[in-house]
Symmetry: C2
Subunit: 209 residues, 2 copies
Amino acid sequence: MLNARQLAELARASSRHEVLAGTELPDDGTYSNVLSGVVKLTRILSDGRQQIVGFHFAPDFLGRPFEPKRPIKAEALTKVALCSFPRTIIDRMADDTPELGHRLLNHALSELDEARDWMTALGRKTASEKVASFLLMIARNVVSANRSASSVSFDLPLSRADIADFLGLTIETVSRELSRLRADGVIRIANKRHISLESTGRIEGRCGD
Amino acid sequence: MLNARQLAELARASSRHEVLAGTELPDDGTYSNVLSGVVKLTRILSDGRQQIVGFHFAPDFLGRPFEPKRPIKAEALTKVALCSFPRTIIDRMADDTPELGHRLLNHALSELDEARDWMTALGRKTASEKVASFLLMIARNVVSANRSASSVSFDLPLSRADIADFLGLTIETVSRELSRLRADGVIRIANKRHISLESTGRIEGRCGD
DNA sequence: GCCAAACCTTGATCTGGATCAAGGCGGCTG
DNA sequence: CAGCCGCCTTGATCCAGATCAAGGTTTGGC
């Protein structure tokens, strides 16, 4: 899709770097590929209430210009490796290479589909449906060392507080629903953060959709 | 941005039509411009719970291919006038005309910003903040016959049930919050559907952000 | 290894918004 | 114009999830 000259130019302009968990990613006029790790996007109300409005998992694109007036913040949830390019270069290449433009558009549209799925969860699902849907989403996005036909295990990249801010719940409710799933034999929890789904089907049945 | 030949081709391929309130708009492989009226996008859970995940007001774009597996439905809320074009033509022109591609991308990105604003409302705002935010959003999007410096009046294009499905509330709660805003002198309500905002500032102060 | 801080779990109680219930309007239709 | 039907409002009660409270567990620093 890109020609040799373009690839060379990209290679020259690209820069790789790694940031630690907790680092805020400034809008520095670049697009980045997330090579590893997880980034959260948070929207904040004036009194401090927070809502996580999206995640970027490897190998996602990241770094679009938000409407400057919307207070959205991007922050690394884990150690994150990025490969970034000046936005000007990508935008110029997209003009010459329709396929690249399509990729940018399709990426935005699939983020939109996801945002709308989560609107539905936030507006119409119960707490336990929200937690089940969340676990399934993470399982699908976190590359897992341990994966068999129907059972998956992975490390949660989020604290209970972040899960709560994503699902529109409190940390206590998140904790209780996780405990309930464990008591029902649907998941196992090791070390607070390590989750094993006994069967993805059992979880899917609790997502409400 | 488009040359004369392209404009002529578009004009030839375009078709205008009008649909009544309540009509479902099928995904018929076209892009449309909404010339007048309001369209709602609804996502439905298997047991019938609904969430409205977006609106299209004039002069919005409409009619992108949803991920086919997501059960999203587009339906006219009012009488709607559309001007539609085969998707193939627009997509081909976007390849030749970067500016058109940019418009499609920017449109998707602003829909994404809006979806994320509503995620925040659904997850973290109280019922009365949700209703206030909703009224303000409608006021900004419905072209109003009656508009002065600080006061606006308009007809709600939604029933109480639709407002509830958008805000993740029940119709009773929506009704009560509207009554409270009226009792507090922030809005006036005529004929159930006609709303006057005494001052946009008073409403803004109740949106939580 | 001990301590403190950060994070998580669990229990008790409270409450915002849901649910249940009972009318009140318009707006059609005959 | 009566009667019906679809919407909306308001009141009473209930409950899912919030809040308040009290430990438990893990991590990291010294």
